[in-house]
Amino acid sequence: MTAIESTFKKRAQAAVANKTLKAAIERTASTAEKKRAIAIAELPDFSNMRSCAKRIKDHVIANLDHYLETFERNAVASGAKVHWARTAEEASHIAVDICKMAKAKRVTRSKSMLGEEIGLPHALELAGIECVETDLAEHIVQLAGERPSHIVWPAMHKSREEIFSLFKSKHEKPPVSEEIADLVLSARRDLRQKFLTADVGISGANFLIADTGAVCVVTNEGNAELTTTPPKVHIVTAGIEKLVPSIEHAFVLLRLLVRSATGADITQYTTFHCGPKRPNDADGPEEFHIILVDNGRTQMLADGMEEMLRCIRCGACMNHCVVYRQVGGHAYGGTYPGPMGAVLTPVFDGLKQSRDLPHACTLNGRCAEVCPVGIPLPTLLRQLRSRSWRSGYEPWLTKANVSVWAQFAKRPKLYHAVSKIASKVIRLFQKNGRIRWMPLAGNWTRHRDLPAPASRSFMQLQRSRHKENGS
């Protein structure tokens, strides 16, 4: 029943004990936090901009069928081929089929979390097609045989020393030093030829523009365009929630996306792709495929979790999450880590398997505070907790504890009588006002003392004072 729980707990415990990991997470996340704060402060009115962004997303979600149809019609008119996938398997199957049709031997991929979500790299590998990750961080993670630990900085957990030794063993012309510029250069050398010799380029989408059928992709490295322009075939994999009515709507969201993610005002490269190469175009792919992926999204819409469909994948929630900052992305075990991952993973992998994630949160609300599209993440996490409770996924001991406690809380007389006795018992373990260890409180006292209960409760004291006062 608690197989995943124990693995999450174990992973989290191991992560907490790993000081190198902690330092690596802190380095990038704290920089991101600081830069975001400056960028948001420079905006004339963040909350107004956020409410505008939120309304745009809500409008699209409320009219999702309309926008999907509009987008499809316009994309097809531009020469794109639009595919629909209900599940992760179906989506990666379609992508692999397109690659096979193109007789692809080598495929380049620019970072897309949806690609990870649908297991595309793995599916390509199974099909015997070489898949080259072109985002620098994804390249690092791929060479290391790992999974991304952050949705914006997938290799956040890696130090330059680790990357140096990795590149030394994997690059044909390895870097000469641990200097970061040298490591970047080494990857540039290694990937340049692969860009130019790939048969298919696969990208994700940051926005799908309904009124033109265009696909917007943003990067700082420029790897997306190098991935999608030279090959004969460009495949876009996109979640159906990525739609926006027009390019103007995309700009509103883009301003918030970039500021929330990296603290910059705009990405270095913001590209809108609309269909395949046209007769007079100097370059571009001959085929342009868009795979629209559901994979649980319509279920979220039906289950009252539609607010999560606003998510624009900026990563601010994890950068500001005290739990993520301690355990890092891998502990979460899914494609998406942090608060947004704790909501999404139960949708994708099943709540029964991942019931622990919604509990791995102090409900401090910081994530919702920084979310650029106002997703009430703590509310959604509470919702998942109650769904798990109703479905009987919670461990029996937790249920027993809460139920017994609730029986007292619902009966004031009994509650006060029992708590009076409990206080007395607990006080037996105190020394100098503190309890260093006590049966059943090990999870508290393992790391900290428990202040002893008062010898008389407030209720007792106030009754006697009340009598003294004679009122």
């Binding site: 609300g365 919670e394 809460v402 609730a406 004031p412 009588a417 006002g433």
Partner: protein, 268 residues
Amino acid sequence: MMPDQKPEQFSKAKNSPSSPRIGLFVTCLVDLFRPNVGFAAIKLLEDAGCEVFIPKSQTCCGQPALNSGDVENTKTIARQVIEHFESYDYVIVPSGSCGGTIRTHYPEILADDPEWTERAAVFSSKVFELISFLTDIRGISTVQARCEATATYHDSCSGLRELGIKQQPRRLLFSVEGLTLREMDKAENCCGFGGTFSIKYPDISNAIVSEKTEAIKESGADLLLGGDLGCLMNIAGKQSRQGQKVRAMHVAEILANMSDGLAIGEED
């Protein structure tokens, strides 16, 4: 055992007939661990011209059930709290997280219960956290209190983000004679308590609270203040385990000039 369930009125000298009638929800942690906070709350409210009542039938706001996902039990507890407190002009809670639960989450969880939706909404509008009630509703800007200390204030998450409590306690602390306020780094960062979270994930919680105690140490303060006993017990418990000498108290105790007693985790 409670001989009768008539609420006890605490006010000695009656304030004027126009004084608002306050139902004080002391919270389960204050009741058991820190009664002084309850008395401090009574004093502050009376000084602010209120008449204070303490319904005996109060237990807990239901957070442990709510945060565990047990909505049914939370609803029962919520209805019970509403029944026992709705006759007062205001319901005051010396805790941001309990205040947040009652004010923000009761209406949410009772939203699908037609009999209670309206009642919960009306009720929740009367619920306030103690310090913000004093400043925002009663217009209090100074207190008569003295405390020789260098204090640092931890912003508890629910109070800060659900109820917008940030400047209110600082403003009042400013008027405390002898008290210097020194901000710690990242005062708004969660302390890792999270109610049942601290028991479910002790190691993660410990890593988080360790950063908090470090920040407090760095601030050079000798007194930690906050508006939520849960967080304070967590932080003070860690400080005590680390052998740190920083004392911890609820902000109400300082403001009510009741800071000469023992701090949290000191022997009584």
